[in-house]
Amino acid sequence: MVIIKKQLLYPLLLLLFSPLVYAAETTNVAEVINTLWVLVAACLVFLMQAGFALLESGMSRAKNAVNVMMKNYMDLCVGSLLFWLVGYGLMFGTNVSGYFGTDHFALSSMADWTYTTLFFQTMFAATAATIVSGAVAERTNYVAYLMGALGLTAFIYPIFGSWVWNEGGWLNKMGFIDFAGSTVVHSVGGWAALAAIIVLGPRLGRFTPDKQPRSLPGHNLNYVAVGGLLLWFGWFGFNGGSTLAASTNIGHILLNTHLAGAAGALGALFIHFVLRQPALLTSGVNGSIAGLVAITAGCASMEIPYVVLTGAIGGAISVLGNKLIERMGLDDVVGAVSVHGFAGVWGTLAAGLFLTGNLFNPHQIMVQLIGVAAAFVWVMITAFIMYWLIAKTVGMRVSTMHEQRGLDITEHGEIGYPEFSHQAAYTAEKLSNLEKL
């Protein structure tokens, strides 16, 4: 049956991608198809940037909508260039020490397959960087944020990545399982976000004088829903592409990914039900993303019932984790720390717990714990130092005057919804009258 499918698939693909026919004559057809699959997957991962931008912007107030979009847009640009320049070398260069790569910096001429992996991995690096933007929304200096994204994609993320995904990495050698990056991408982004919000402090009025959290609803829940769905769609490339080959298990991986996302949304809403709270759209969306984050580590090595369990617990963690963050007096605008950080930890542990053919192996669980702890320690220390230094030099936090006007005006001189701002204190036609801060 498989052979018949292959016999049908190859001619069809060759027909569809006729310019490749000539290449296929001289190269291995499988290599071409692998390349195609990984590139398509990379493009899907790129689409996650749109998902993040919509979701984070929708969860922010209207006066900061442009700023959030701009941060998402520009961290992709900064992150991509820096990852090519430094990050890829640190992550995938020759790793003798087990801690970082030492070559492949600023590659300009390379093997075809290296172009492909560099492109794919660049999208991953940009994803790790953009996780922070939602957490720190509405009160962060724009330049300071981009400097943070630079440090994350050029240094913090690739070094940890080299421990796991580089053949010479010390966690890789221990047998740490993180197929597509529950820890490498998501927890790293989540912990960087945690360090950033500790340095930044909460938005004005986020907590009452007696330290109770106050809800600051986002301006566009439709964006949140569409952003969540785009992320979900992009995740098929994120997890499916991590095979780095057009292998036959992609269907299993994508189905696992999808079911975990669905279970995550239900898990989050179940917690609201238990707590007798309304079923919030934001929680449903965040729950599905947490489910997707959780399954990212073990999507290629878990059976479906465990996948569903992993996703559902991930979703529940996104709600409970957010409550913990609030109780700690921290302000995470989109819930990035619980969705990416906490759910990433759970997913990585679940990949060890529910490993097909080797369930609940204590050694594997220990390795997973070591990997998770290493990520937390490495990222928290380096990201905290980085954001603290930025705060002391450039200034991480904008002034209260910026918060009053909104960062769209103070950082970009624009208003997200000029036609609808007549009810606001700052209208589009009055922008030029405002004194520069």
Partner: protein
């Protein structure tokens, strides 16, 4: 009673008691709020204008002077301080006119911003302003006194000149206080509402409210 005659009578009566800038502010308050009211409103008008200790002490004398002026023949009154061509009071220097009008608009803006809060909350916000204003900007003695009078006596005027940066800082502190006490969403709404409520007055006096924001 003829409104021009009454205005001239009020102006004539108050002239010996008030400094130029304060007199102009008083006349603007008169024009804004009391020009069309009956003579019974004089007491209220004076309680709004006379906030310093000295003026408070002189309030009965000023009231007597006003009633006295209203008995005077037209030729004994000072000329009308309102320039009918420009619609502005120009008996004083241009700078003083600008200062007084800007102050009236600013105080009106503050009143609009705080007017939508409960009395208790407004007091808390004012206390927050007084507590934090020193850290944000340097105030001279006159400014501090004027601000205290405004905050504690619910005064309708600020008898001191504040530049736009100082006004901006004051509004920002009030905004922070409202964020802390009732939340940033409502703070934004109240700020927008205050702008809308004060805009007509600001336009009339050619003051740009965005200088305060």
């Amino acid at each position: 009673m003829d409104s021009v005659y009454t205005r001239r009578a009020v102006f004539t009566a108050m002239r010996p008691f008030l400094e130029d800038a304060d007199l102009l502010t008083a006349m603007m308050i008169w024009q804004e709020k009391y020009a069309n009211k009956s003579t019974y409103a004089f007491t209220q008008f004076l309680s709004e204008c006379c906030r310093t200790t000295e003026l408070k002490r002189n309030r009965p004398s000023i009231l007597n002077a006003i009633f006295g002026s209203l008995e005077l023949p037209e030729q004994d009154l000072l000329p009308d301080p309102l320039n009918h061509d420009t619609g502005r009071f120009d008996t004083l220097t241009a700078h003083e006119v600008q200062y007084a009008t800007a102050n009236i608009v600013f105080v009106q803006f503050l009143a609009a911003l705080l007017g939508n809060l409960s009395d208790d909350l407004a007091l808390k916000v004012k206390a927050y302003l007084m507590k934090h204003v020193g850290a944000k900007m340097k105030l001279n003695t006159q400014q501090t006194f004027a601000l205290k009078t405004w905050a504690h006596n619910n005064s309708a005027e600020l008898n001191a000149a504040f530049d736009s940066k100082q006004k901006q800082a004051m509004i920002n502190i009030i905004y922070i206080a409202i964020c802390e006490y009732i939340g940033p969403v409502q703070a934004d709404q109240l700020l927008a509402k205050a702008v809308q409520e004060t805009e007509p007055l600001a336009k009339k006096h050619q003051v740009d409210l965005h200088d305060y924001l």
